[in-house]
Amino acid sequence: MTGVRLDAVSKIYPGRRGRPPVAAMDGLDLDIAPGELLVLLGPSGCGKSTTLRSLAGLETPDSGRIVQGDRVVFDSAQRLDVPPERRNIGMVFQSYALWPHKTVRANIGYPLTARKLRKPGWVEEAAALVDCSELLDRYPAQLSGGQQQRVGLARGIVARPDLVLLDEPLSNLDARLRDQVRTQLHELHRRLGFTGVYVTHDQVEALALGDRVAVMRAGRIEQLGTPEDVFSSPATEYVADFVGFTERLDVTRTTGGWEAAGRPLVGLTTVCSGEPDKGATLRFRNDDVRVLPRGTDPDGLVGLGYATVLDRSFLGRSVELTLDVVDGGVLRAHLAPGDGLASAAAGDLVTVAIAADRVLAFGRGRTSASSTSRAAS
């Protein structure tokens, strides 16, 4: 088992028809420990897939160096680029990419035959690991999506590669299957302990599977940390938005504290430092928003002011209220169905508040990690 390291890897796609060039990887540094499953998380276009494909050798970066174990597989300075077939990797695709003209057995066994490895029993063993032993003589077209992706997993690990690359492997599955296969994948990694890189845009997958999660943006890593870290202490507003801090409120600093749209925010004193007049953006999760009867004193909470209920929809586990905060934009609050105000109707006037320790403050217009801080009362 080996680790992988990227040193200042860049790939810029030239802009077409007057559009500016796009950086898929912008001086990317990354160190993946042996046996670690690292998740690259980000929206489409952030460069996560390009990074994965560069690790596979399917894409050629413009510059930088990639070291797999003790072997340099890419180095722009030496014009070295080891082709994918000589990198000893396994890969799992979003589209499954099982060859339809080969049986499941031939699909799983292909990495062994292609590398001229005679390993009796390895195919059966890999199939057993993903519960596909009975499917070996079928063709991919005869399998369900979940079965196909499990076969894809078996093909990815059968030759015991140094590095397993997973490119949004669960995205084509429907919700229920996705959970199932995700659980199996986690279990598989726990048992085999392969070094892996997993690309996804789904925060649930990223948190559940990653030993560490790297949130990417425009070819750079915005935050790298354990799932717990990233989930509870996003380093930037961008990461916060991505891991569920979807609600935002712009605030400005006054001599006495903070205010939103000219209204003082009672109970909010923060350690957000520097440039007091520049203001900040508050970020919080929609299920942390508290909705109170109009006029209630938000004792111990940060009062966000009055709001009009614009709409109410039932989401099953919760009720979503769309709220027009006076002069403060639109917020969504998720309430437990039993909550007193969960039955509020459109047009009702309510008071909105939030617990101070559930709010993140980010310096306005800045994205670097230093500008952020947890609000404290």
């Binding site: 080996t2 680790g3 992988v4 390291r5 160190d31 993946i32 420990a33 042996p34 494909r53 596979a56 050798g57 399917l58 050629t60 070291v67 174990g69 003790d70 072997r71 340099v72 597989v73 180095d75 030496q78 014009r79 070295l80 680029d81 080891v82 082709p83 994918p84 077939e85 000589r86 990198r87 000893n88 990797i89 396994g90 890969m91 695709f93 589209s95 990419a97 099982l98 060859w99 339809p100 003209h101 292909y110 990495p111 292609a114 590398r115 093909r155 030759a159 690359l165």
Partner: protein, 567 residues
């Protein structure tokens, strides 16, 4: 965390370079080969012009009829284009509104492409030649028509225009029908829900949406009309109707051949052809390349039209069934006359045909050259499609794309003159051998092979290949074990399509044939020139039979769908 932080790379890795020399070398060989095949005949024509100089220009202009040939060419092109667009678009619109149980009739408008042009044109002549034409004889029985010749004279310019238009309408039909099937049916349903009648929805929504397809189809028809050779040659020669294409042929067929004059006469066609290929690339560019054909179509965009099959059936009757029937009657008759005498029907024409010197040879040459040409074009087309698709060498890919499509844009008669001139002089002298036919066929088929394989390759996506590469397989194993097997339907369909097109091939074959190398089409032309009509009919039927066999194979290979629709 890894063992290496600042250590130099392992020495073993230095050998592992991408783009090994062999790949670059292979690319150079491929580009050189394709460049030679496609460009050298055209360049040689330019050289001929340069060498011929002013004398050639004099010859090209001298003699009567250049002006009228130009006028006839323009009239033929525009007239047949108009007929083809109206017929093709109309039939396509009906073909997507066929009632249940009649949908098979959608294949009928394609039949004229599948039947050899020389066969159907001679069939038309047997129907509508002014004195002995069967259809004319029938029409004379209509009151007030009468007379002992006419009313139709197939040997005149207007009827040459009509017949060319009918032939071209099949191409328009294929493109427009495919375009209609690929239209998002939601757009049309929305129009109808919004209250537009089906007719207005067709005119106001469907036709504007189809504009790129219509422009493309019109462009192809324009090219084919400009270079139209078979119809004017077979029907117009005796009556003195001449177009630029037939004039080019005359310059090369005369002794001594005047290539410079032929090239000069052909230059407008050459320039227009190249311009249209480049324009098409600019206009369609990458768009078409990445449009996924969902296959789900607009079958139920609007309610089926009950009478929709009737025009399609009439078209098939007029364009295919009647000419073929005329061929059968003539082939079975001892001699060609307006009176059909079933009692005298005989197979003697077929026996006599095959006793005629070189006829059997011509059939064998046709088959051999068609198979060899198709297979070689397949190999080169596969390689070209791979280079164009992978974009590892983007500039070379764009260049190759234009290169392989040139034989589609430049009229076959111009290419034929170029082939003849280029391959009858050093460095590569092939004239008089079967090899020249194979090389010519190979070159003409490059666009078809590349386009259909490129389409299949795009549809295949890249994941299957990537999965093979990361599994440890090199490019060669990946192509042999993954790409080729997955594309076998497209490959089979492409080979069969090319076989069909090549067994038809007449224009270029006529220019490069020699006394010893004949193919079916050129032999038929000789018989036609000699007036051996019953044997002409027999030969036409033999060609049609071989083509039909090819079509059956093509449909089987491409899984029942029509290979022509794949282009």
């Amino acid at each position: 965390m890894t063992a290496v932080d600042t250590a130099p790379p392992a020495p073993v890795a230095i050998r592992e370079r991408r783009r090994p020399r062999s790949a670059t070398l292979g690319l150079v060989v491929l580009v050189a080969l394709l460049g030679y095949l496609v460009l050298v005949p055209l360049i040689q024509l330019l050289v001929a012009v340069a060498e011929g100089g002013a004398a050639a220009a004099g010859n090209a202009v001298a003699g009567r009829g250049l002006g009228s040939a130009i006028v006839t060419t323009v009239v033929l092109t525009l007239g047949s284009l108009a007929i083809a667009m109206v017929l093709g678009v109309g039939m396509a619109a009906l073909s997507v509104r066929l009632p249940r149980g009649w949908r098979w009739t959608a294949v009928l408008p394609i039949l004229p492409v599948v039947a050899p042009a020389v066969a159907s044109v001679t069939g038309w002549a047997f129907l509508f030649s002014p004195r002995s034409g069967y259809a004319n004889a029938l029409l004379r029985m209509v009151p007030f028509v009468g007379g002992d010749s006419g009313p139709v004279d197939v040997y005149t310019a207007p009827w040459i225009v009509v017949i060319t238009g009918i032939t071209l309408s099949s191409f328009v039909y294929v493109f427009v029908r495919t375009g209609m099937l690929n239209l998002d049916r939601g757009l049309l349903e929305a129009a109808q829900v919004a209250g537009l009648s089906p007719g207005r929805a067709f005119l106001r929504i469907q036709l504007p949406l189809l504009r790129p397809v219509l422009v493309y189809a019109a462009g192809i028809s324009l090219l084919l009309g400009l270079g139209q050779f078979t119809v004017p040659l077979l029907l117009g020669t005796a009556s003195g109707v001449e177009v630029l294409a037939t004039r080019i042929y005359r310059f090369t067929a005369d002794t001594p051949a005047d290539y410079a004059a032929a090239a000069l006469v052909g230059s407008p066609l050459l320039v227009l052809g190249i311009a249209l290929v480049l324009l098409q690339r600019l206009a369609l560019g990458d768009q078409t390349r990445f449009v996924a054909h969902s296959g789900k179509g607009a079958w139920r965009t609007s309610r089926p039209v009950r009478w929709a099959p009737v025009p399609l059936l009439v078209f098939a009757l007029v364009a295919v069934v009647l000419p073929l029937a005329a061929l059968v009657v003539v082939a079975l008759s001892p001699f060609y006359s307006a009176r059909i005498q079933p009692s005298m029907f005989t197979l003697a024409n077929f026996t006599r045909l095959f006793r005629t010197p070189f006829v059997l040879d011509a059939v064998m040459t046709s088959l051999m050259a068609s198979i060899a040409g198709a297979l070689l074009a397949l190999v080169l087309g596969y390689l070209a499609a791979t280079v164009i698709h992978e974009r590892r060498w983007p500039r070379t890919a764009r260049m190759l794309d234009v290169l392989v499509n040139l034989p589609l844009g430049v009229p076959a008669v111009v290419y034929g003159a170029g082939f003849l001139y280029a391959y009858s002089r050093p460095p590569v002298v092939l004239y008089g051998t079967d090899a020249v036919i194979v090389v010519v066929y190979l070159t003409l088929m490059l666009p078809y092979a590349t386009r259909s394989l490129l389409g299949a390759r795009i549809a295949l996506g890249d994941d299957y290949l990537a999965a093979s590469r990361v599994a440890g397989a090199g490019p060669l194993r990946t192509h042999l074990q993954i790409v080729v097997p997955l594309m076998r339907a497209a490959i089979g369909g492409a080979v069969a399509l090319m076989f069909v097109l090549l067994t038809h091939e007449f224009t270029a074959s006529l220019l490069v044939r020699s006394g010893t190398t004949q193919v079916m089409g050129t032999k038929l032309f000789d018989l036609w020139s000699n007036g051996s009509y019953p044997q002409v009919a027999a030969m036409a039927l033999v060609m049609t039979g071989i083509t039909a066999a090819g079509v059956v194979v093509a449909m089987a290979a491409s899984g029942g769908s029509n290979p022509l629709e794949r282009l």
